[in-house]
């Protein structure tokens, strides 16, 4: 662990890391120069990203280079082309993009420019969740600085490559992190995900070819172009190369955002970086990659943190945001909190998701408050299976169903215990005194 190579957060540790001067002094815009002035064709850039094996860091883990290659050939399709950078980070437990936006915004800007060159984009929109005010301002300032330095706008670095980068602000909707919900929101509408097909590469923003990429994915691009796909592949695993930003939160001694090679065992991240479970307690449960990946028991903590390994234990790598629950935590309470979240965030288009997320929330709340029945437990499973997989326009229903099924699979005994005792056994005093979350929604 001591010899591990880092790159993602290296600049963030420097003073004034968000400024152009510091960025440039530390190798910034070198990759862009290599691409623009080193005679690299756009196809070569895409090939290099493909060769690197970079997988999207927003949750799905889709290969970035492959996604880029879906954009139609401008020779055959002369429409305007866009990229939307997904900086709507709102998967519970996930707080990594915020660090990059705030501390190293030029890294994102350079990545956008290279992506724009490779995909021959006309403009890039960076969709930042509305609550991230400081990160928004930092990226905006970086764009302004870069523009003044001839790096954004017309004739970047004096070449005939031009690209506009615009900032856009969301307003508090998890669903706008879904790529088509994001596009609807960016167009000024309610963030209702669009049915696919058509896919964004054919029909995206304003009906034009569009690619949607996560902040961290784009942030990796300049490093790949600068140091080469082979270097990138020397980090991480064969199927999941590179480092990733692991936000680790919950019951740990040192929560934080750490840079880790993909494939690092979860226990190593927990113990060596996050200082282990807090207060000398034992681990009970954990989420590997944000709330939507579902709870896992402590027994699986030795699993390597990469897409295939986590998939192998029946979960998902997601955003790589680990949330830790110690032995005193209540998994029913955790399930209730998350069910409330999905209830709050469902856009409401699809019947199963709209009604199902509310229903799951209501049942988990009753069980946590000691008013549940055994029939409720069976109902949770039936409902979750009625909502997913793939039964709705987008994956939010799946995101609500997965943690429900995971809780049933690994922690059914806690649900049963709540029902049998008629209270939450983990609550101080044991009585059910949880605040009625109904008010929260009104």
């Amino acid at each position: 662990m001591s010899a591990r190579e880092t790159y993602l957060l290296d600049r963030c540790k420097l003073e004034d890391s968000h400024t152009l001067a510091v960025y440039r002094a530390n190798g910034g815009y070198k990759a862009l120069e290599k691409v623009l002035k080193g005679g690299m064709g756009w196809a070569e850039v895409i090939e290099e990203v493909k060769a690197s094996g970079l997988r999207g860091r927003g949750g799905a883990g889709f290969p970035t280079g492959l996604k880029w290659s879906f954009m139609p050939d401008p020779a055959k399709d002369p429409r305007t082309r866009y990229m939307a950078v997904n900086a709507d980070e709102s998967e519970p437990g996930t707080c990594k993009d915020r660090v990059l936006l705030r501390e190293d915004p030029h890294g994102l800007v350079e990545g956008c420019l290279i992506a724009a060159y490779a995909m021959r984009l006309d403009a890039v929109y960076i969709y930042v969740r509305g609550e991230y005010r400081k990160p928004y301002d930092r990226v905006q300032a970086a764009i302004d600085e870069a523009r003044a330095a001839g790096l954004v706008g017309a004739n970047v670095m004096g070449t005939d490559f031009s690209c506009e980068i615009h900032m856009h602000k969301g307003a508090g909707a998890y669903i706008c992190g879904e790529e088509t919900g994001l596009m609807e929101s960016l167009e000024g509408k309610r963030g209702h995900p669009r049915p696919k097909p058509p896919f964004p590469a054919g029909f995206g923003l304003w009906g034009q070819p569009t690619t949607v990429n996560n902040v961290e994915s784009i942030f990796n691009v300049p490093f790949i172009l600068d140091r080469g796909a082979q270097w990138f592949r020397s980090l991480g695993t064969e199927a999941s190369p590179g480092n990733f930003l692991c936000g680790i939160s919950g019951h740990v001694a040192k929560p934080g955002v750490y840079e880790v090679a993909l494939g690092t065992p979860a226990r190593q991240i927990l113990d060596e970086l996050a200082g282990g479970v807090w207060k000398g307690r034992q681990l009970k449960a954990w989420f590997p990659g944000g709330s939507s990946t579902g709870l896992l028991p402590a027994s699986l903590i030795d699993t390597p943190m990469d897409h295939d390994s986590i998939k192998g234990i029946g979960s998902m790598f997601g955003t790589g945001a680990m949330i830790m629950l110690d032995e005193t935590a209540c998994t029913v309470r955790a399930s209730q909190v998350l069910a409330r979240f999905y209830d709050h965030e469902s856009c409401g288009q699809c019947s199963q998701c709209r009604e199902g997320t509310q229903w799951l929330h209501q049942i988990f709340r009753r069980i946590e408050e000691g008013r549940g029945t055994m029939a409720d437990i069976d109902n949770l499973e039936r409902l979750a299976r009625g909502m997913a997989p793939g039964k709705t326009i987008c994956a939010l229903a799946d995101a609500a169903a997965i943690p429900t099924l995971a809780a049933l699979k690994h922690f059914r005994h806690e649900l049963v215990e709540h029902v049998e005792r008629g209270c939450c056994p983990f609550k101080k005093g044991g009585a059910s005194a949880a605040p009625a979350a109904a008010e929260v929604h009104a």
Partner: protein
């Protein structure tokens, strides 16, 4: 209501970022809420509708989808406490209780003196620094009762 000239000019500028003017609606609602009283009043919705060439009902549909837009008047200070999983595991409930007691505002409501609005929020992306709240657009993280007292005590 007509927008103040300076704001109108800013909104016009903002819309030039997009091939379709309507894309400026959400950023414009943010600016209106910031500049014109802290909430999206019917006057703002109507002015935005006119500005964007939409019907007020369309603006209402959009504004009500996004919880950052307040459709009722808020207190002078708005405190949004995150109570999603990472914050919940590190005492968000205690923060909510403390903030409510300290400000006199109920969850989802305003304090009797109109100074505070307290609301609970879903994940704010500050999970590694839980618990947290957002006070008037600024994150305050790694909260403790003492820290909360110091922050709230310093407010006018």
């Amino acid at each position: 209501m007509a927008f103040p000239e300076k704001l109108r000019a800013e909104l016009e500028q903002l819309c030039t970022k997009y091939p379709d003017r309507k894309a400026g609606l959400i950023p414009a609602l943010h600016r209106c809420q910031e500049e014109l009283g802290g909430w999206i009043s019917p006057e703002i919705m109507e002015a935005c509708a006119e500005f964007f060439g939409m019907e007020p009902v369309e603006v209402y549909g959009v504004a009500s989808f996004y919880p950052m837009f307040k459709l009722k008047p808020t207190g002078k200070h708005v405190i949004g406490v995150c109570h999603n999983i990472s914050c919940d595991l590190r005492g968000a409930d205690d923060v909510i209780e403390h903030v409510c007691k300290r400000t006199g505002a109920p969850v989802g409501g305003n304090s009797p003196d109109g100074k505070f609005t307290v609301e609970v929020l879903e994940c704010q992306g500050a999970c590694a620094n839980a618990p947290m709240f957002d006070l008037d657009g600024t994150y305050h993280e790694d909260l403790t009762p003492e820290k909360i007292d110091a922050i709230l005590g310093g407010l006018s």
